[in-house]
């Protein structure tokens, strides 16, 4: 058993070395495909993180007319909090709103001067409503629109947040789709090149294969080294792509975190290193095996 395995491995390794340029081309193509594959995994995580973070920030703000007394607003709050879709309601009084506004615009002298000149507080009291589920916001808005306190409101602020979220979701889907298409093309090219590599190995060993057949080698005995050759190409490509990804992640990680606070690609990569490497290796081995099987079935007449 051990000598049979040794023979299979030696023949496969010889095949890789014999056509070294084709092997290099094949491994290069597979490496690129695997880098894209792993990048998709990490991009998926990043996109989910961003969308989730935005959903967390989402809320509905309903602004009341300035002449509505506080008790009425609090009554509306009490009415709304009973709804199962609503998890939390924060009341911001007119004074509270003014304080917040002044805090945000401390360095803006124009706004400060405008406020001084107005004299009176122009801001409305509001209720910030958080839903249990981000998909329920529209339901809550519809309910408010049909309620008996609509006349007390100036505006309901949701639409803009929703549009941003929808756009980000669309962008994420678009990038994912583009990556999948790119990966599919590269995968196809990898399979073609690997197929040619194994085909050349079969051709260069044709004398030996003929004699193997004549002395009674089983089909499995003949095929196995070529199948292993394809698998080895996938395995090597996986190792090379990991060696490339590591410095890439270390370099890109802090830059991405600077752009989207809390999104640590580094942390995700290292905490899921085993899974990423395994997924990549399995994908690479499958690529190589498919290509070899194709070449063997097409060109190895046994």
């Amino acid at each position: 058993m051990i000598s049979a395995a040794k023979r299979i491995f030696q023949t496969a390794w010889q095949g890789l070395k014999r056509n070294s340029w084709i092997t290099i081309a094949c491994i290069t193509m597979m490496t690129v495909s695997l880098i894209i594959f792993s990048s998709i995994l990490m991009f998926n995580h990043a996109a989910n993180f961003l969308v989730s973070a935005l959903k967390d920030k989402m809320d509905i703000s309903i602004y009341f007319k300035t002449d509505i007394p506080e008790e009425d607003i609090l009554r509306v709050r009490d009415e709304l909090i009973g709804h199962e879709e609503i998890s939390k309601i924060d009341y911001i009084s007119r004074e509270g709103a003014l304080e917040l506004f002044q805090e945000r615009n401390t360095n803006n002298s124009v706004i400060q001067k405008a406020l001084e000149e107005l004299g009176d507080n122009p801001l409305s009291a509001s209720l910030n409503i958080k839903a249990r589920n981000s998909d329920d916001y529209q339901k809550i808005v519809d309910f408010i629109n049909k309620s008996n306190f609509t006349s007390k409101l100036i505006t309901i602020d949701l639409t803009e947040n929703q549009m941003i979220l929808a756009r980000i979701g669309q962008l994420a889907r678009g990038v994912k789709l583009g990556s999948f298409v790119l990966m599919a093309i590269l995968t196809f090219l990898s399979v073609i090149i690997s197929f040619n590599s194994v085909r050349m190995a079969i051709y260069s060993l044709r004398g030996e294969i003929e004699i193997m057949k004549l002395v009674g080698a089983s089909n499995r005995f003949i095929r196995e080294p070529f199948l292993l050759e394809g698998m080895l190409q996938g395995l090597i490509a996986s190792c090379v792509s990991t060696l490339i990804l590591i410095p890439l992640v270390i370099w890109l990680g802090p830059r991405i975190e600077g752009f989207a606070t809390g999104l640590s690609i580094n942390l995700y990569f290292w905490s899921h290193f085993g899974v990423i490497f395994l997924a990549q290796t399995v994908f690479g081995i499958i690529l190589g095996t498919v290509a070899s099987l194709w070449a063997v079935n097409k060109h190895l007449k046994i």
Partner: protein, 227 residues
């Protein structure tokens, strides 16, 4: 029960009729020469025994088993029971004599211990023990052919098919090879020798099957080359 049986075998290549309704049996331990001009179908006949060719009509049996109906796994096993010796040797150029012979055992799954035990013995039988480490390019034509016979013998086949084994040899080497095949036959292995060498056939005085125009025209127990 016969070892080999050709039953009404006909072979066409397109519109060309190569073999026409050939029927004969070979018993265990027999030495049979198949003679005829070049292109008469001798090699095709031999190839049918290892399913390198299949008959257009008729059947070929090995121990009462129809070869055409054998599965790929059964064919592999069949080929280990049938040793092949070719005119053009078919030795692996990057393996030495020992390795070329051992190769036949490796494909059959023999252990390294068995290889190391059996190969030297077979090399001794064919007088090549001193050439074990030589590569094919370092062997004479006669030595190469003996290496091929050793490879054919190593799995203890029931029959050896020798397809014009002396085609590339001088007369002295030819006789060496024929004597070796005769010796192997005396040890119990059937031999099917395809040749157009009149001298060999006439001196051997073994069974001769003569082919002409694709037909079996003569089958004599102690035959002569009369074509």
């Amino acid at each position: 029960m016969s070892l080999l049986y050709f039953q009404n075998v006909t072979k066409n290549y397109g519109n060309s009729l190569i073999l026409d309704n050939i029927t004969f049996e070979i018993e265990e331990g027999e030495f049979v020469s198949i003679v005829g001009k070049s292109g008469v179908g001798k090699t095709t006949l031999l190839k049918m025994l290892i399913k390198e060719e299949t008959p257009t009509k008729g059947r070929v049996f090995f121990h009462n088993q129809d070869i055409a109906k054998m599965s790929p796994g059964e064919i592999s096993l069949l080929r280990r029971k049938i040793g092949m010796v070719f005119q053009d040797f078919k030795l692996l150029p990057d393996k030495n004599t020992f390795e070329n012979v051992a190769f036949a055992m490796e494909v059959a799954g023999y252990s390294e211990r068995e290889v190391k035990r059996d190969v030297p013995e077979v090399l001794k039988l064919v007088n090549l023990e001193s050439k074990a480490n030589n590569f094919p390019c370092q062997l004479s034509a006669g030595e190469k052919q003996r290496a091929v016979i050793a490879r054919a013998l190593i799995q203890r086949p029931e029959v050896i098919l020798a397809d014009e084994p002396s085609g590339n040899l001088d007369p002295i080497n030819t006789w060496e090879i024929v004597r070796l095949l005769d010796k192997i036959n005396q040890l119990g292995t059937a031999v099917l020798l395809s040749t157009h060498d009149k001298e060999i056939v006439n001196i051997l005085e073994k069974r001769v099957i003569s082919l002409e125009g694709g037909k079996l025209i003569r089958d004599e127990k102690e035959g002569k080359y009369l074509i």
